[in-house]
């Protein structure tokens, strides 16, 4: 079974050195994730794509202890649902990215801890392929 990314253009994949793919404003150096056509700071449309740093520090986090009701959630739902943690990781000087965290125990999560990008399975698509997505793990 193939591994397919959650969405095209979200991260480089397959890759030995996967990176989240953001964009940077040529006018004001604002960095966004994912990439977008216009700058949310200066509203100009001069964005160029930018692979983001692999490492950063945890800025805020919580846990998701019930299956997200918002359709379509691509992970396992119902009885197969497994609680997960989610947070913003600040990639130094670039951007804060919201991502799933590999550690789910509140006792082991702390703002400021160093984290690194990993690509992890999320669920299966209708063809039976494994969907992979981005997450961060302590390092």
């Amino acid at each position: 079974m193939a591994q397919v990314p959650l969405a095209a253009g979200l991260f480089s994949w397959p890759s030995d050195d996967p990176r989240l793919l953001g964009s940077e404003c040529s006018a004001c150096a604002m960095v966004t994730f994912p990439s977008q056509d216009s700058c949310p700071r200066c509203a100009l449309t001069e964005m160029v794509s930018k692979p983001l740093a692999r490492r950063g520090r945890l800025w805020a986090w919580t846990t998701q202890n019930f299956p997200p009701p918002s359709p379509p959630y691509a992970g396992a739902s119902g009885k197969d649902f497994k609680p997960f943690a989610v947070g913003y990781v600040e990639l130094s000087g670039e951007v804060k990215v919201e991502a799933r965290l590999m550690e789910t125990d509140p006792a082991k999560l702390q703002n400021g801890m160093e984290m690194e990008l990993v690509i992890v399975p999320l669920g299966k698509n209708t063809d039976g392929d494994d969907i992979v997505t981005f997450a961060f793990t302590a390092c």
């Binding site: 805020a60 919580t62 998701q64 359709p71 989610v86």
Partner: protein
């Protein structure tokens, strides 16, 4: 500045679950109560503003009230809908286009967290597929960070929720009217760390209406007009930590609530130290804690002590969510903010019954916040 707009009547359809009544039905009931409170007839009303999430056209309520041909504008700004409705109604009166108008909110939600298509909020589809497009997670993350940064304990969250349930017990219009202990609240199911099930409000049903008039004419209708001194709505600025954000910039700034609050204080010529009774958006207990500081009622972190000392109780110096807030009333989105106004009006009139704040409160304050990062603030006074 002399007040330009007065509230002369308020009406509420209780919040909760009401099989057999539509959102529009509840809206009509709230309107009738507000008209009766003001002592005016529907045919006297010169314009109206309606707000709802589930009802596409709140203006359809005219079929139940009377087809008088008035201008009736429907507005929607998520949880801040009532602030938009009030601001628009006040603006219409300030312009002199009309002297007497009405704002009404109504909703009838299914149980459970709200869901929607992320793309309609300028979020990519994968954000929903990944399980991120959910508001409660944002609230968990925001208070979790705030607690770390400013030394707020889990017990404080439980105290806030317990207070609001307690206030709901003495509010006959509330949805949840059972007191819950801090232990029960802390031990209920964890939903989004550190927020447990009983720390959250839930979507429900209800309606609220407010009759407004030109300030100079208020004494024709009532001996205790309540003046609307300011009503502001603000969207988020870049760098604010707000709901439904797949990313945030490195630079940080204050949230939409702070912007709306500062603008309202300035317009009203009133400061937080002048406020006697307060309604804050308590989507969850953490939100109430954060909003105390965001609306200028205390420095960050002081909530821990204030709440432990009972300062936010009905008898305290800063009575907050005296009617039980969203936690005890639930949230019919279109109506929620006008419920806050209903409570403040009764508090300032001295007619809040068992919930009455002592000492003749003269200034009231309400705040709303919701997706996609929109806040509304109103300041009222005798």
């Amino acid at each position: 500045m002399n007040p330009e707009v007065a509230i002369i009547g308020v009406g509420l359809h209780p919040f909760g679950r009401f099989a057999g009544l539509s959102g529009i039905d509840m809206g009509a009931i709230a309107i009738r109560r507000a008209l009766a409170d003001a002592g005016v007839e529907w045919r006297d009303i010169q314009f109206a503003v309606g707000g709802s999430y589930e009802v596409d056209n709140p203006d359809a309520v005219v079929a139940l009230m009377g087809l008088t041909g008035i201008q009736f504008t429907d507005v929607y700004n998520g949880c801040a809908t009532a602030a938009s409705a009030l601001a628009l109604a006040a603006q219409t009166i300030r312009l002199g286009d009309h002297d007497l108008g009405l704002a009404v909110g109504m909703d009838k939600h299914l149980p459970g967290a709200f869901s929607a298509d992320p793309r309609n909020y300028a979020c990519p589809s994968w954000y929903g597929e990944m399980g991120h497009f959910i508001t409660t997670k944002f609230f968990g993350m925001k208070i979790n960070k705030y607690m770390t940064d400013h030394g707020i304990s889990h017990e404080t969250l439980a105290r806030v929720a317990a207070k609001n349930y307690r206030n709901g017990v003495i509010n006959p219009n509330a949805f949840r009217r059972k007191a819950l202990s801090e232990e029960e609240i802390l031990n209920s199911a964890m939903l989004n760390y550190p927020l447990t099930q009983y720390m959250f409000c839930s979507p429900d049903e209800g309606a609220a209406a407010v009759v407004l008039c030109k300030a100079e004419k208020a004494h024709l209708y009532t001996d205790t007009p309540i003046y609307l001194r300011a009503s502001t709505v603000r969207t988020r600025r870049l760098g604010a930590f707000e709901v439904h954000s797949p990313w945030l910039p490195i630079e940080e700034t204050v949230g939409a609530t702070v912007d709306a609050s500062r603008a309202a204080y300035e317009l009203a010529g009133i400061g937080p130290e002048d406020v006697d009774v307060i309604q804050l958006q308590d989507t969850d207990a953490g939100s109430e804690v954060i909003h105390m500081a965001e609306n200028g009622f205390c420095p960050d972190g002081e909530q821990e002590k204030l709440i432990a000392e009972g300062t936010t109780e009905i008898g305290g110096r800063l009575p907050i969510n005296t009617d039980g807030g969203l936690i005890a009333n639930g949230e019919p989105i279109g109506a929620s903010g006008l419920r806050q106004i209903h409570e403040i009006v009764h508090q300032l009139r001295g007619t809040a019954g068992e919930r009455q704040v002592p000492g003749n409160p003269r200034v009231g304050y309400t705040q709303l916040y919701g997706a996609p990062g929109t806040a509304g603030v109103s300041i009222l006074s005798l």
